[in-house]
Amino acid sequence: MNRLAWRRWKSRTMVGLMIAAVVLAVTPLILILGTVIVKGAGSINLDFFLQTPAPAGETGGGVAHAIVGTLMIVGAACLFGLPIGIAAGIYCAEFSTTRLAFGARFVADVLNGTPSIVVGIFAWTLIVDVQKHFSGWAGSASLAMLMIPMVMRTTEEMIKLVPHSLREAALALGYPRWRTGLSVVIRTCLPGIVTGSLLAIARVAGETAPLLFTALGSQFMSRDLGQPMAALPLTVFTYATGPYDDWHRIAWATALVLILIVLMLSLLARLATRRRFDVKL
């Protein structure tokens, strides 16, 4: 084989290997989604959404308590996480050269990389250890803490995409900075901010680790954030590691519901930004 043929052969082999890598990389997703659907779909019925769990060892029951719990904990987390995250993001974009902006950006990157279980311990020492009981609020606090840096960074990126000419036009018309910011800049990139927020919600909705010793989980319906609360990821964890076959069945079904919620939020997020490209900034 001459040198050129060898080089061509090598090039083709490497491309082949890379295609194999693509196939290998996509396989787990198909396998995981497939298993969750196959094993989970059979157990999903109306009772599953409306009932609370049957006593341990018995069959039947549902995860209504966990659905309510997840909605309330994540909802309360949004109450704190979204406004602070978005406002901090706007600050970093509008006053991007101040020392505070650099600092906040760096800290947000550090927080983004912080393991969620460490944030869980923070919420535990801050709230649970002080109040001496587990609560949904503590869970919300840890999720909010995870949301802030994510939302902040995406908001900032989105605002940076707004062309300067828009801002200058508004300022030239005599708008003060705050109105330029709110009704021109923010409004232009609102879909992008919504996308960032939805992605952050999707990510924290699936978080288990920070809830383990904050919201704790519960077998009963609770609508009081001041008490221990169930959440879908916690239910998956408890039931998957439990000893009963019926628990495993419920774990799969709960995982399916959780995945559907998370994927739907992610898809919604993508749709929101797609509109942004239609507007043609």
């Binding site: 990389a25 787990p28 550090v110 801050l126 018309l173 799969w252 959780l258 994927l263």
Partner: protein
Amino acid sequence: MAGPESRRVDIAPVSAPLTGRNPGDLLFKSVLTLAAVAVPLLLGFLVYELYLGSELAIDRFGLAFVRTSTWDPVAEEFGAWPLIFGTLLSATIALAIAVPLSLGVAIYLTEFSPNWLRQPVSFVIELLAAIPSVVYGLWGIFVLIPFLRTTVFKFLHAKLGFLPIFSGPVYGNSMLAAGIILAIMVMPYIMSVSREVLLAVPASQREAALGLGATRWEAAWTAVVPYARSGIVGAVILGLGRALGETMAVTMLIGNRHEVAASLLAPGYTMAAVIANEFTEAASDIHYAALTYVALVLFGVTVIVNAGARLLIWRVSRGQVEGGRGV
């Protein structure tokens, strides 16, 4: 959009004299500043609380905590070495599997793949990043582990069992299983960041290589990849950060045993997993403190790792700006 706006003629509001500051501006800026200040404050508070929570253990065990291996809540003896070892080893296994795969995918998608394939493949792989970690754990327990135990592990044990790393009984729940699930989980991160870095390589780079007669692979490997090298290293380190802090899936698969085993098929433990398992049931104040100390160490490691990654990625993007000016 017909709304309240369409009724009102939107003229510029009468603003304060140009010399003074608009009170609205002042309010706007102070509200935003407050939010921006909150972020570093939160981090400071987090570090402070972690330190406060682990003070008892820091006083008692000092830095020897990271070297000793006893973990005995009853005798109140705590040492984190097996946890640190497990965290590092499982992350290393994950990277050993995930890095070649995700680089292969990233290079293929940016340099070789037909256009119609790019969007769908990267979309699918990014979906992998959206799946909650507890679902990976569930899948790992009931699908991956039974599969590995009866095929891959059995084979490794039978054929390569003479090597210390594949010796000992095959349980299923093991360091290697945790490493494999971690590899699946960090792959999307490494893939999408290195894809972005590769996309940022100027076309002239590969055109020059192709123009000199390089094959497409040679152009990609000798001209494009080296240009993006530090960005790719940054992507890998970001993946490492993820792998170090990942909790649920690892807790469910690693076997949770406080010991440093030579065999990859033996159970182990990680820092995040021990916190997840023991924190709610901690027996004493010193046990809580020891677990918080573990969290502090874990936090420190991830901060160093992530700061390194950011620095590298930042250097690449800065390098591009300078390169662009030079051309």
